[in-house]
């Protein structure tokens, strides 16, 4: 193998490397603490059973996990029966949870029994006030119209939320909307009397709250289960099934509390639980230091942006040139690249997962698509802005089309093209942080963990380097821009400025 071939092979390996699986079984988890803890429980149980398993943590929302499972990018993830019935399989209108296994099997997906806890909607009050007023169930709440109810906006808006609940229980209160985290503080400081809660929220214990009994069975059940690909090896399924029924609502609340309120790492909390209940011995995981973390994430981030930008350049420059050559082609090209720009990044990820799985590949593909428009548009504008008299002079000299492009048009359009590349690169650095929700790593990783754990320190650990990288890249591109701008054009700029 000669030099260039070797270089090409190295490039291919480099592109594939981060997307390649480092373990036989991949577990995914959603972007909230409970899901991450349960994902760790699964991973550690599988490892204990002698299997090779990795955990792709906090991968965005339901849609992303479900698509990743179907695409085979992950093999296992925890979900809730209510979510399966009302979101993923909503069109099938399943009567109850017992219809789920058969419905999932049609997708090649298996489901464990309930892990033992439910994460459902509930109405919470301060325990002392509830006792004082003799309120035990939601029915009791209806007898106290003066109680102040505050609900998360989502719960107010949903058709199966407050309106349906108020109708079912004939509740007279008029709720106001309040952010879910603020609601707990408002409740604790006695500014409101009842809020909506999730049954495993750790604050229920730490703030001594009481969950009112849903005595008319209004809320659907949201039992926690593992979903897995049916092709998964039997030993792995057996290890997952062993966890069914093992985790009570109190257990889960305590584990959520340990992570969210005490700041312990999910891995350690999961390991302690498995050790206590199942006698599992897992090695402690040592978190790398800040510098090592930053360095690794910088490499991940640069990798995402670098590959995407290189590919975008190879495609967008010819497209921009083609757009400048033919008005009709130009309209088509700018419309299509403009349309790509309008696809929300989350939707684009969901579209790309069936094709490319999760991790770096779909993130790079998304960054690539978003980078096309600024480069195409500026290439087109740079070429279209060249005075017609110069093109006439070039043609009259006898330059061929190719020579005119290379000798005259591209050098004259270069400053504009570079500005487009700079815009695309700076946007890509910012957008790449979103890749963390599909497991691409980079600076987005600490940001989403920080948002999940409400840790400003973690958010800044990702946001500051991302901002610094964007600024550094902008500075470097400006130097490059100055360097590639033909000297003759700088003079013209000077005289025009002066």
């Amino acid at each position: 193998m000669n030099g260039p071939q070797r270089a090409l092979l190295a490039c291919c390996l480099l592109i594939l490397a981060p997307t390649a699986r480092s373990a036989d079984i991949t577990i995914g988890s959603k972007n909230f603490t409970e899901s991450v803890i349960v994902g760790d429980l699964a991973q550690q149980s599988l490892v204990d059973a002698g299997l090779s398993a990795e955990h792709r943590r906090q991968l965005g929302g339901t849609r992303i996990l479900w698509e990743a499972l179907l695409a085979g990018a992950i093999d296992v993830y925890p979900d809730y029966t209510g979510t399966l019935r009302f979101e993923i399989l909503a069109s099938e209108q399943l009567a109850d949870d017992s219809a789920l296994p058969a419905a999932l099997a049609r997708y090649g997906v298996g489901m464990t029994r309930s892990l033992g806890f439910e994460n459902s909607y509930a109405i919470a009050m301060r325990a002392d006030q509830a006792t004082e007023l003799g309120i035990r169930s939601i029915t009791d709440l209806a007898r106290h119209p003066s109680l102040r109810v505050a609900l998360s906006n989502e719960f107010v808006d949903r058709a199966d939320g407050w309106r349906a609940l108020a109708a079912a229980y004939e509740l007279p209160q008029r709720p106001r909307g309040l952010d879910h985290d603020l609601a707990y503080e408002a409740l604790a400081s006695r500014q409101v009397d009842a809020i909506d809660a999730y049954t495993t929220d750790p604050q229920i214990e730490s703030l001594s709250l009481k969950l009112l009994r849903d005595d008319r069975d209004f809320f659907p059940s949201y039992e926690a289960v593992f979903l897995y690909r049916q092709s998964l090896e039997p030993a792995a399924i057996a290890a997952l099934v062993k966890l069914a029924g093992m985790i009570s609502t109190d257990d889960m609340r305590a584990m959520n509390s340990a992570v969210q309120l005490e700041g312990r790492p999910e891995r350690a909390v999961a390991a302690a639980f498995l050790n206590e209940r199942l006698g599992l011995q897992n090695e402690a995981v040592v978190q790398p230091g800040l510098v090592a973390r930053l360095w690794a994430r910088t490499l991940e981030h640069l990798y995402l942006v670098g590959i995407a930008m290189a590919a975008a350049l190879l495609v967008a420059l010819p497209l921009g040139i083609a757009a400048a050559r033919s008005a009709r082609l130009g309209t088509i090209i700018t419309s299509v690249t403009g349309l790509l720009q309008t696809i929300p990044s989350l939707a684009l990820f969901v579209l790309l997962i069936p094709l490319l799985g999760i991790g770096a590949a779909p993130t790079i593909a998304a960054l690539f698509l978003y980078s096309l428009l600024p480069i195409v548009r500026n290439t087109h504008a740079g070429l279209a802005g060249i005075p017609a008299s110069l093109l006439d002079s070039a043609d009259a000299l006898g330059l061929t089309r190719a020579a005119r492009l290379r000798r005259i048009e591209l050098p004259l359009a270069l400053p504009t093209i570079m500005a487009g590349i700079k815009t695309a690169a700076v946007i890509a650095v910012g957008l790449a942080t979103l890749g963390a929700i599909i497991g691409a790593g980079g600076y987005g990783q600490p940001i989403i963990t920080g948002i999940r754990l409400r840790s400003t320190r973690l958010i800044l650990e990702g946001a500051i380097p991302a901002a610094v990288l964007a600024l550094a890249l902008q500075g470097a591109m400006e130097l490059l821009e100055r360097w590639v701008t033909p000297d003759g054009l700088k003079i013209r700029q000077q005289t025009a400025d002066g």
């Binding site: 017609a388 006439d392 002079s393 009259a396 000798r407 004259l412």
Partner: protein, 230 residues
Amino acid sequence: MKFGATTALQPTDIRFVPSATTALVGPSGSGKSTLLRVLAGLIPANGTVRFAEAPVVDWRAVRLKLGYVIQDGGLFPHLTAAENVTLMARELGWPADQIAARSAELAEIVGLPEAPMARFPAELSGGQRQRVSIMRALMLDPEVVLLDEPLSALDPITRARLAQELRRIFSRLSKTVILVTHSLREARFFAGHIVLMRRGRIVQQGSYDELEQAPAEPFVSEFIAAERTL
């Protein structure tokens, strides 16, 4: 620099005298620049353009035998004067010593010293830019030189000096020169043969004296008289 709108040409049949200078004259919108651009192959012609009696099929081959100079030079701003002049020769793969010799010869012909040749167009005076443009047009030793208002962007003194030199250059090189100008005085100064145009049509052609003494239409006399009053 943008050209004015293209004027639709009326059915026109015109022959140019080899090794002599012909001036296309007329007011704005007369179609004189359009005709010149058709001759340079920059606008597709409805009819046929013949070069040395043969209809032009391969424009690129013909362009190598044409020199083209426009108002304010049309120099490429990102190339130095020398690079502008030698661009096409380098593109055709001329050896470096031949390029250098031809450049030096042309610099002597147009009277341009060495120093400005290393500068960019934006650093040159208007007169220098036109001299460089003429060098560029003559680089490949073309058979025909087309000039579109080559003097109109210059101040009067520079214009007068360059006009003198251009006439001297053309007579020395004895090329077929086709010059577009809106000034009858300029046309008379350069060309023995004048083609007067109006609204895309050739009104009359001949020497200045013929136009003056035997005007084909009242417009011819009007055009001559108008220039005298100014």
